[in-house]
Amino acid sequence: MLDTQAIRKEFPILSRHVHGKPLVYLDNGATSQKPLAVMQAMDDFLRSHNANVHRGIYTLSEEATALYEGAREKVQKFINATSVEEIIFTRNATEAINLVALGWARQNLKAGDEVLTTEMEHHSNIVPWQMLVKERGIVLKFLPAKAAEGVLDVAQLDAFLTPKTKLVCVGHMSNLLGTVNPVTTFVEKAHAVGAKVLVDGCQAVPHLPVDMQKLGADFYAFSGHKMLGPTGIGVLWARKKILETTEPVLGGGDMIKEVTKAGASWNNLPWKFEAGTPNIVGAIGLGAAVNYLTKVGMENVWQHEQEITRYVMPKLLAIPRLKVFGIPKASPERGAIFSFWIEGMHPHDIASIFDEQGIAIRAGHMCSQPMLEVLGQPAAARVSFYLYNTQAEADVFLNAIEDAKKVFGI
């Protein structure tokens, strides 16, 4: 079990008040708060080691390079990638997915080729593919989700996969429902028809142990800021073999081996895909976040959130006029994300009333409009827990629902 009280002390923001009430931060699906260790690593870099990377023949630049590449190594070990050459730093998961779309997909897909995504995806795993439909005439298909069960209709996967399927895109954990999708089943079936698999791991990497060797996918994208790191740094993991034969998307400094007026040759992996001065301090912050999570233990983080789910789920299900979306019970296939709808109260009103009590939640479409359409909902309210959230905070949230219902006389 996690020592949540000790963990909370390491996150300065958790001791602040909002509207005179202790902050209850339940919007971790959007972004996580940051521990002192992350702030200190970034501060230390800027104070004592700041220089550009991969360039200078001087001490500071060597230190900066070692810290930046050290962060890459931490990420590699954290997700059990085969080598650092497979870890490409991006701005975020969105940019990582777009890098696959603009690079590998544009170079390998032609008109009529099929990309299979799912109804459960975040917009960032839908829109880049829709853009390729427009630009290249690829065909985009959506594997249906089952509204009541809160899961993808995996039984239909075989029917959706054809010899024309070149890429299958699936979220590891839904940002709207908290559903953990059976990625290995997707990989097995997609590979059987010769398709590659791209996994959006934004909500998974921060919350559960993730192992590239066990998953067996081809591309895996995630963001640093949802896993205790800073904004502006994300990761694309991809198989070395694929990266080797993919042309870079951005040209410029650092991504080249040699430039003449006649042309340029590319740098080695992973730098081939990192044109220009990268987000050095962001990567170092992410490295510190990875260290922090490794110290706590991802299995412990996941068990803590499972415990929260077992506590919250039955209580939510018992509230009259409240619908909670996703798998309708606590389950190992469900993370601690709870999206809900209260009849007679719009999610924005719920979020405003909660805010007055210091509770930060998300309301709106959560960048998941196709899934909301499946659910028949214009919007939803969402609470999402993390390693520093407590059962006491869950109670504050559950009591706030009752208070909000009173305000609205329902």
Binding site: P347, H348, D349, S352, E356, H365, P378, A379, V407, F408
Partner: protein
């Protein structure tokens, strides 16, 4: 924000329904939250609002704001309506609107302003 006046307008919205035929009509959605307000206006000989009905769905702030606004519109010219903003809505609702909810509060006003442009 959720004062009794706002909640009263939300639970008992004024001037709802349609005007058919209407001189001016506009449907304004807020794609961020799925709220929508549709306004129907009749104008008098000099182009001032003679009658208004509206229909909509969404949060208490957007729906109550439109309801309260609908009681203030008759007799107003296009120029007068264009000059209105969230402060007018705060006045008629007798509450202040959180910055994060300005778009909700002004959805109905924007619908009316756009209707008059059409």
């Amino acid at each position: 924000m959720y004062e009794s006046n706002l909640l009263d307008h939300y639970h008992h919205p004024r001037n709802t329904g349609k005007l058919e035929p209407a001189d001016k009509h506009h449907r304004e959605p807020n794609p961020l939250c799925g709220d929508v307000i549709e306004v129907f206006l009749k104008l008098d000989a000099v182009g001032k609002v003679a009658d208004i009905r509206w229909e909509g769905s969404g949060c208490a702030v957007s729906q109550a704001s439109m309801s309260a606004l609908s009681e203030q519109l008759v007799g107003k010219s296009k120029a007068e309506l264009d000059a209105m903003g969230v402060t007018n809505i705060e006045q008629v609702l007798e509450t202040s609107i959180n910055p994060a909810r300005l778009k909700c509060a002004t959805l109905g006003l924007v619908a009316v302003q756009k209707a008059l442009q059409e």
